[in-house]
Symmetry: C2
């Protein structure tokens, strides 16, 4: 970790943060430390949403031979010239598994091989059948109703690019080659240590952070190595931080400036505390560092701060560890600020908004309202550190919690 | 089902479809038959992505009492007037669990209760401490650093609306009230019957539809009741269609106009075949009907047709059964048609496209290319039945397979 910023964080307890890292510095730190997990082989049926480590290449041509793509009669197109309802052309019926004889046709179904020599399939509505003779009442062009060998893909063609989050249609495509198992990137194993926010430790309030972080890690493709409650003192924190087995350690709580906020000291004792205190609101007491190659993120114990710090830093790290796109898994739209927003220069503020007919209506202060303000909001915007807010009417990018499309009705 | 269209579908085998239902009619049929599954109670930790059947209402005020929202000293704001570094005001320190005495301050942490009488919290950087005395070097306003009782939510406030797909932050919010189990809509149970597309039945090509449909059902929030292969004849199909236990039956294959395409006949024998043959490409041989209250969808055996029919009709039905938004779970953007697209009047065509710098580049014919054309595409557009295509330069809505946001960097 020689290239990490070597500013040694000071003990901020009972003092407050004197200087804070910028959000950009913190994100650059997470991006530098994130290595992608290794590859594992899994059953195709479990691969929805997993990440492909390398391109998927067609192992053979698809289709592997000339194939009917509609139900009907396979024949030679050149033999159909001139056929019409005024001039029905007779064809002999034969079995599709034999090479096509002259002026013969074979019954085929969509997806079955063409008999050798056939280059088109006529649909049933161009055919009148009597006994063993088929009368064609329309002509077809070469290639009508058929897929030639390799028409969908030649052997060796890249069909799915590396880093793709596998879609249902990808699994169908891979299965169509008879493949049962595929390589995917392993999911990052995330250790969650709930260091006892004081609310929960003293029994004042039920814990929100455990369910919150478990669900966030699942959402971002990680697995929970362990979710351990009540690790409040420096020695216990340090002991749990250094245990092997996790790709990422998330410590929640005990990151602030109170006398018992010992998570940063625990990390500094057994690893490297790279940053503590970030110019962001909510989430300003976030810290980050590492123990050997394993990143350790210190998230604030207040649930709103925890969520924001997770979304900006921890989620990004988990997505990168798992090979996903690092950007936040939210929708994105543009909206006009409805009401003036005031923000502190030097601090990125995450402001929840309602979206009403293209307007973004800010919901109170960026650092108040708790998770209720998140539940109530349609999304949020990030106010850059350089700005002191937004004037009404400014067009901004809004991240939306809901990605569902509202549009439909093209068939009407 | 008295209000269902009672056009009795004819046997189209060896004849072809003479008339087809419109996509709009088919969607209206699925919307009429879709009833939402009942409610079940599950552990909060399993509820990510599940659907809330009724609003979630704050059972008590949040916070339940006045609470510090930063680390520091709780005190009475009116007693801080005039404090500055030139005029430090002394406060006595006391424990936070007792009512605040005059000109006293109590050490508090973010999230802990305020002592009775306190209305503000001063951060450590406004304080100089000596022995048992705290000298305040700045004033604070009433409410600074605190959340009053009910500030985030009053008891009885709707915090999460009904029909919400639960987010990680929702789970944190619900947990913050000490709630461990919640009511959600049951996932629809989907039976998949692979009626033997002829490719797979005769061993010509490996099956793509099983992995495809399983993954699609999972994506849309359903569970697989059973995925049964090789049910090819009419009696076996009918027998498997009528078995109880599924909220929806998907039959894949045997829907076309070949002599052994008996899925529609099997459904008509034991239930109602409401529609067979839809004016859409790919997916034109789709059928739909019901057995009692259970919808039965007949999807084409060609994987591309199967996917398109699933996306337009079956996925919508599964999402509605599960209480999700019925619209397709794809992104949406606008793009300019790069190259002329020809389409048949009277048929909705689903045209895969590449998106290149705001242009939509069509990828061949709507009904060719197989699942490889889906893997290769960035998304698709639906050409309405009324149009014969699009001229270059037309702006159209494009559904995108990938919902990931590309934008970032507001902090830079």
């Amino acid at each position: 970790m020689a290239d990490m910023p070597q500013r040694i964080p000071r003990d901020v307890r009972m003092e407050g943060f004197v200087e804070r890292a910028s959000v950009g510095e913190a994100i650059e730190w997470t991006d530098r430390i994130a290595h992608t997990c290794e590859t594992e082989s899994i059953a195709l049926g479990s691969a929805l949403g997993r990440i492909l480590p390398e391109p998927f290449v067609a192992p053979v041509a698809s289709p592997p031979y000339g194939t009917a793509v509609q139900d009907g009669y396979a024949l030679r197109s050149c033999e159909t010239v001139g056929a019409s309802s005024y001039n029905p052309l007779p064809f002999c019926l034969q079995d599709a598994q034999f090479a096509l004889r002259p002026f013969s046709a074979a019954l085929v179904s969509c997806g079955t091989p063409l008999p050798m020599g056939a280059d088109a399939v006529v649909p049933f509505d161009l055919v009148q059948t009597e006994a063993n003779t088929t009368n064609l009442i329309g002509s077809v062009a070469q290639g009508d109703g058929v897929a030639v060998q390799g028409q969908e893909a030649q052997a060796g063609t890249v069909l799915i690019e590396a880093s793709r989050m596998l879609r249902a249609s990808d699994l169908g495509l891979i299965a169509s080659f008879g493949i049962k198992r595929i390589p995917v990137l392993r999911r990052p194993k995330v250790r969650i240590m709930l260091a006892g926010s004081k609310q929960t430790q003293e029994g004042h309030l039920p814990d929100a952070n455990g369910p919150l972080l478990r669900a966030l890690v699942m959402r971002d493709g990680g697995t929970i190595e362990i979710c351990k409650y009540g690790i409040a003192d420096r020695a216990a924190m340090a002991e749990w931080m250094v245990r092997p087995g996790a790709d990422l350690v998330l410590v929640c709580g005990r990151t602030g400036v109170g006398p018992d906020d010992e998570a940063p000291l625990a990390l500094a004792a057994v690893g490297t505390l790279a940053l503590h205190g970030i110019a962001v609101r909510p989430g300003g007491s976030t810290g980050m560092g590492s123990i050997g190659p394993v990143p350790v993120l210190l998230l604030p114990g207040s649930p709103l701060d925890c969520l924001c710090a997770y979304d900006l830093f921890a989620g990004r790290l988990i997505r990168k560890l798992g090979g996903r796109a690092p950007t936040m898994p939210y929708g994105l739209c543009q909206a006009k600020i409805k009401r003036k927003i005031v923000s502190s220069v030097g601090t990125v503020e995450l402001c929840r908004v309602l979206l009403i007919a293209g307007d973004a209506l800010p919901l109170g202060r960026s650092d108040s309202g708790g998770l209720a303000s998140v539940a109530h909001a349609d999304g949020f915007l990030l106010i850059p550190a350089a700005l002191e807010g937004y004037a009404p009417g400014t067009t901004v990018d809004v991240y939306t919690y809901d990605q569902t499309q509202k549009l439909e009705g093209v068939w009407k």
